[in-house]
Amino acid sequence: MLSPERRLSLVLALVLVAASVAALPAQKALLPNRSGSLKFLALGDNGTGDRPQYELAQQMTKARDSFPFDLVIMLGDNMYGSQTPADYVRKFEQPYAPLLAAGVRFHASIGNHDRPEQVSYKHFNMNGQRYYSYVRNNVRFLALDSTLMDQKQVAWIETTLRGAGEEWKICYFHHPLYSNAARHGSSVDLRVLLEPLFLKYRVNVVFSGHDHVYERLVPQKGIHYFVSGSGGQLRRGNMRRSEQTAFAFDQDLSFMLVEVDGAEMFFQVISRTGQTVDSGTIRRQEQAQ
């Protein structure tokens, strides 16, 4: 149960966010927004509690007006710095209060700045697990713990992917298997472990964070990779585009809107100022196997 003070601060945050959201310019929706499709948002490296995170959260709320997603996948580093109960309010519950109030469900993965206790935080819906799986519509999601990729987890990934009969398989975790940002770049140690499994069991799309930029990669061995690690932190000018880079944005915070309908996945990337910085369509049958 929330304390009266906490409830009051949440209500105030809700009112403030609602007021400021109303003042934001409308976003141009590039997604088909079909009824019955799966609509979700991808967000990484967000929990600073600073003003830019709140401003991006306002854009997320605004986006939901025209694109009613009910799922947010969190790509790790959900919280930076101290992680006291008050921080959970300031760095998560307040900025995303309108989404939480609207019943949007967040499903988190763990990053290197996250405390292990986050797996038990109710709004992250991890049910005490470092890695877990769930199904929405025709999509199987696997939320992985790339900070501790032990043999047990690797075996679990294989078992889960082998048993997944859904049309789409989407994995998300903190450390990117492919990234062309200067600060961290690709986690090749994890790539050598995980990519063979992703190929074997035909994973379609992989979302990661860690590098504080947005990058869409040219499909690697048929798999689509996105780095979306600027949900609260930004490393401006950190991209070092290579032939692997299909598109990159490192000038502002951003999040991704995603829609899966049948054999198509649509995506739109929106910045803190409400600009659409990238968009496109992925067709499942494109995957080379």
Binding site: Y80, G81, Q83, I110, N112, H113, D114, R115, P116, S146, T147, L148, M149, D150, Q151, K152, Q153, H175, R183, H184, G185, S186, S187, V188, D189, L190, R191, V192, L193
Partner: protein
């Protein structure tokens, strides 16, 4: 100036013995680590493909012989003339090792939190590790034949034993089947005991029969099988007197333990080369501030912990060894901060591949700064070879 001219001959006098020791014990692991660092930062994909393929053979099998040889040194040290004979001599260093491990572990947990990488806190047992060979080498340079050298050796052994214990008890990745392992181990020890009773002199019989079963016991129990020969080596017949720490056996020594050492000395060094290659490959871009947690913890915590623990021991009525001062203990603290081989081993046993292992391994490599710090501290505190006469 006159001080320097007096010191140089002493320094030179110690070089031949120590340089032989360095060639025998210290070169191949750093060489493997250096190759790994260059390789992983130039061609990471091929590095990981290669090292993942051989990691089990190196870490879980070949390293068994390195730990067997370390155990051999400890077993011999319990014989008359050894640093562990009589056992009471070990009391003060063992007491010191409790402070030398607990304080760094506490500092480590706080440091990684302060450095905003709290997930690294699971690696706290790595802060227990002390590289016996490197710290012995540095201690010999500083202290020459001073009683601080055996003190340091005992401290290092006790710290590592505590570390292995923590590794077994608090390894989040371990899937423990201790009862099953204990039953198989009872069989292995029974075989080793019977061989000793039957006065079997060939180390191969101990190695293949008891050692093989012991490896299986460790493996099944979920404990690290590289330690498989640790409980078997004490059963090998050995010399009545300790030849000295890190004194190599000669062909004239016919006891099973000396023969074992002569046969496995160089293969174990090769194992260390590959161990460095497999476990020290740290991509520099994977590093964040958390990599500093370990060096900070051991550089600050090791001397502090030793001073605190020895202070408690002295207050409880124990005595410092003769010619040992509190300033010596500070220098030994920096020397014992070097984790290197044991630290890398703890990393590989505790952490799966990924950023946490990379950062902790880099932290282990950074603990080598304990060597120059010990030399600087010795000079500033006028300790060992830098003492004022």
């Amino acid at each position: 100036m006159s001080d320097d001219s007096r010191r140089i001959p002493v320094w030179r006098a110690s070089v031949p013995r120590l340089s032989a020791f360095a060639v025998e014990h210290l070169l191949l692991l750093p060489l493997g680590a250096a190759i790994a660092l260059v390789w992983v930062n130039l061609a990471p994909e091929s590095y990981y493909h290669f090292t993942y393929a051989i990691a089990f053979a190196v870490n879980d099998v070949a390293m068994m012989f390195f730990f067997a040889l370390v155990t051999k040194e400890v077993v011999e040290a319990t014989a008359p003339g050894g640093v562990l004979h009589p056992w009471r001599r070990a009391l003060m260093p063992v007491m010191a090792s409790i402070g030398a491990t607990l304080i760094p572990a506490l500092i480590y947990s706080r440091a990684v939190d302060a450095l905003d990488e709290p997930v690294l806190s699971i690696a706290w047992p790595v802060s227990f590790a002390t590289d016996i060979a490197v710290s012995y080498f540095i201690a010999r340079i500083i202290f020459q034949l001073h009683p601080m050298v055996p003190f340091l050796l005992l401290l290092a052994i006790a710290s590592d034993v505590l570390g292995f214990l923590m590794l077994a008890l608090f390894n989040p990745a371990a899937d423990l089947h201790l009862v099953q392992g204990a039953l198989i181990m009872a069989g292995a020890i029974g075989i080793a005991f019977s061989l000793r009773r039957a006065r079997v002199k060939s180390f191969w019989t101990y190695l293949l029969a008891a050692g093989g079963l012991s490896w299986w016991a460790f493996y099944r129990s979920g404990l690290h099988p590289a330690l498989a020969l640790v409980p078997i080596v004490p059963f090998l017949p050995h010399a009545a007197r300790d030849p000295g720490f890190f004194v190599d056996a000669s062909p004239a020594d016919k006891d099973a333990l000396s023969q074992f050492e002569m046969w496995w000395r160089y293969p174990a060094q090769a194992a260390l080369l590959f161990f460095g290659l497999v476990n020290a490959g740290v991509p520099f871009r994977a590093l964040e501030a958390g990599a500093w947690g370990l060096p900070i913890a051991v550089i600050v915590g090791r001397p502090l912990g030793i001073l605190m623990a020895v202070g408690v021991a002295v207050a409880a009525g124990l005595h410092l060894p003769q010619r040992v001062s509190w300033r010596d203990l500070v220098v030994v603290g920096f020397t014992a901060a070097i984790g290197f081989s044991i630290g890398l081993f703890f990393c590989s046993a505790l952490l799966p591949p990924g950023q946490l292992r990379s950062e902790t391994s880099m932290g282990v490599l950074l603990t080598l700064v304990g060597a120059p710090l010990a030399l600087v501290a010795a000079r500033l505190l006028h300790v060992g070879r830098f003492a004022r006469h």
